[in-house]
């Protein structure tokens, strides 16, 4: 697969305050995104995710480094013809209706009126905003703005879609819908780069991730390679066995309504626990193995910083 976005040695320093103090936000970032994948860009607040995205889109000028978009230098307007972007907390011209707003962006890409009409119709359907199409954006809720923002990012049928915190501020249903739209983008052959700190969502949809902490990428790669398949521990909810007896096998935690939650770290001990429960005529209510999650990996990386 060919590379659609490549970043090498990106650095950016900002001067802040009345008496300017220099703060290095990006300390030499390099990564590449291949065509057709969903790439998750993760990091805690202030790590430099948005700064990186703004550099890519030409909103901020990096101090050093090289960015290539669709095989061209990122500031070349031709490279932006195939890029869609949804900023964090999007604000749009609130005097326009959704239809006028999308039409305005369509015109910026030089699309013919008939093409614009057809795309706007399809996009409003995709983001389920047909009913509010002729309502002024001033009256939109945050979730509605996010959807129209997504439609705006797709008006030029981009090859690469960059989404900055696309799931922020949405309710669970809204998040699921946006996730589905992102997956559909990939199915249509688009590449998606998204930044987020909602790790479950990233875990569900991303093919590859990069973890950014304090302006440096600490880890990047395929999710399956980053997160080990090793079982961290097994949680067993059981009843009929005393806590004292269980303590030798694992970590008995809560005892609610006569049930005990036992955390077993050594896999080899699970058959022993099951035998013990059978001997005491007790019951097993549930048995769940926990493998490493993206969150474990993320917390493990962010904490030492």
């Amino acid at each position: 697969m060919s590379t659609i976005l490549s970043i090498e040695g990106l650095r950016k320093t900002f001067s802040q305050g009345f008496i300017p103090r220099r703060k290095e936000i990006l300390k030499g970032i390099s990564f590449a995104v291949s065509e057709g994948e969903i790439f998750g860009y993760l990091g805690p607040n202030g790590a430099g995710k948005t700064t990186t995205i703004k550099c890519v889109l030409g909103l901020i000028f990096p101090d050093a480094g090289r960015i290539e978009l669709c095989g061209r230098p990122h500031l070349d307007p031709r490279s932006k013809e195939k890029v869609g972007f949804l900023p964090e907390n999007p604000y749009f011209y609130d005097h326009l209706t959704a239809r006028e707003f999308l039409d305005f962006y369509g015109q910026l890409f030089g699309l013919a009126p008939a093409v614009r009409r057809e795309r706007i119709r399809a996009l409003l359907k995709l983001v389920d905003m047909e009913r509010a199409a002729d309502l002024s954006l001033r009256k939109y809720s945050r979730g509605m703005l996010q959807r129209v923002g997504l439609a705006q990012a797709l008006i030029n049928e981009p090859s690469l879609v960059v989404l900055d915190e696309p799931l922020g501020g949405l309710d669970p249903i809204g998040r699921k819908e946006v996730r589905d739209i992102i997956l559909r983008m990939r199915d249509e052959g688009r590449t998606v780069v998204l930044s987020s700190h909602i790790l479950q969502d990233i875990e569900m949809i991303c093919d590859r991730v990069a973890i950014l902490v304090g302006g440096l990428i600490l880890s990047q790669g395929r999710l399956a390679d980053l997160i080990s398949e090793k079982i961290l521990f097994t949680e067993i909810v059981l009843s009929g066995v005393g806590r004292e007896e269980l303590a030798a096998l694992g970590e008995p935690l809560s005892a609610l309504a006569g049930r005990t939650l036992l955390k077993v770290y050594d896999e080899a001990r699970i058959p022993t626990v099951l035998d013990l429960v059978r001997d005491r005529k007790g019951s097993i209510h549930s048995l769940l193995s926990r493998t490493q999650t993206l969150e474990d990996l993320f917390v493990g990386m962010v904490k030492p910083q």
Binding site: F14, P87, P90, Y93, L96, L108, V162
Partner: protein, 254 residues
């Protein structure tokens, strides 16, 4: 093409600004009430009425350019609407010029409204349509082209309040800088005179666009002066816009 799309959108945005209509209302009120003012004066009342009305159009036009122009670019940055715009295949100068021409279009509509009220009233009062009054309005508009460029320039790096103050300062200095030239002639030759001469050359001279006295009092208007004023306005505007583009070109949108 992109400039036109942004200009039309800016026009749609600007015409929804209430402050525009407030100023238009006051301008219309000033045009109508100038008759009352004329009653208190001695001389040819109609000439004074025309002069006051033209001055009102000039002042309110400048206020419109400053109060709307200084917010145009700043609002885009503050409300972050610029993020999605700049990420599209448009160049930054196209964005800035689109904003400029959008406001110019708005001001043209406003000038036409004020001009219609003014010319209509004069026609009713005197029964004569005076083409020269139209010429005075064209030069007021030329002045607005420059003031709008200045407002947009300040809007590229400063808040609307500060930009308004700076632009208002530019407007006032521009209308009084001719007195520096007069002062320079009265000062003894030397450092003071040179300084005054340099200052009067550097500072804008907006009185170039003021042909009201000549128009109202039917004085001759040399074509050379008209051509000079037009060239002065267009070149000065181009210079200020180029400066704005230069500042905007390397700005980070944090």
């Amino acid at each position: 093409m992109t400039i036109k799309v942004i200009a039309v959108n800016t026009f749609k945005e600007a015409v929804r600004d209430r402050i525009l209509y407030l100023l238009l209302f006051f301008a219309a009120a000033a045009i109508l009430l100038s008759r009352v003012l004329a009653m208190l004066t001695v001389g040819d009342r109609m000439k004074i009425v025309k002069d006051v009305r033209l001055a009102s159009i000039s002042v309110f036009g400048a206020l419109m350019a400053i109060l709307i122009g200084t917010g145009l670019v700043y609002k885009e940055i503050e409300k972050r609407t610029i993020f999605t715009l700049i990420s599209k295949p448009i160049r930054r100068y196209e964005f800035l010029l689109g904003k400029y021409f959008g406001l110019i279009l708005t001001l043209a509509v406003m000038m036409a409204s004020m001009g219609l009220i003014f010319l209509g009233l004069v026609l009713v009062e005197t029964g004569v349509f005076e083409g020269r009054l139209l010429l005075a309005l064209v030069y007021v508009f030329l002045e607005l082209l420059l003031i709008t460029a200045v407002a947009i320039l300040f809007s590229c790096f400063s808040t609307p309040i500060l930009s308004s103050l700076f632009s208002l300062g530019f407007y006032l200095i521009g209308h009084f800088s001719w007195s520096l030239e007069a002062l320079a002639k009265k000062v003894q030759p030397g450092l003071g005179r040179t300084l005054l001469a340099v200052l009067s050359a550097v500072l804008p001279d907006l009185e170039n666009f003021n042909i009201r006295t000549e128009v109202v009092h039917a004085l001759p208007l040399p074509a050379a002066h008209l051509a000079y004023a037009a060239a002065y306005g267009i070149l000065y505007t181009a210079f200020v816009l180029a400066l704005a583009v230069l500042i905007f070109r390397r700005r980070d949108f944090v």
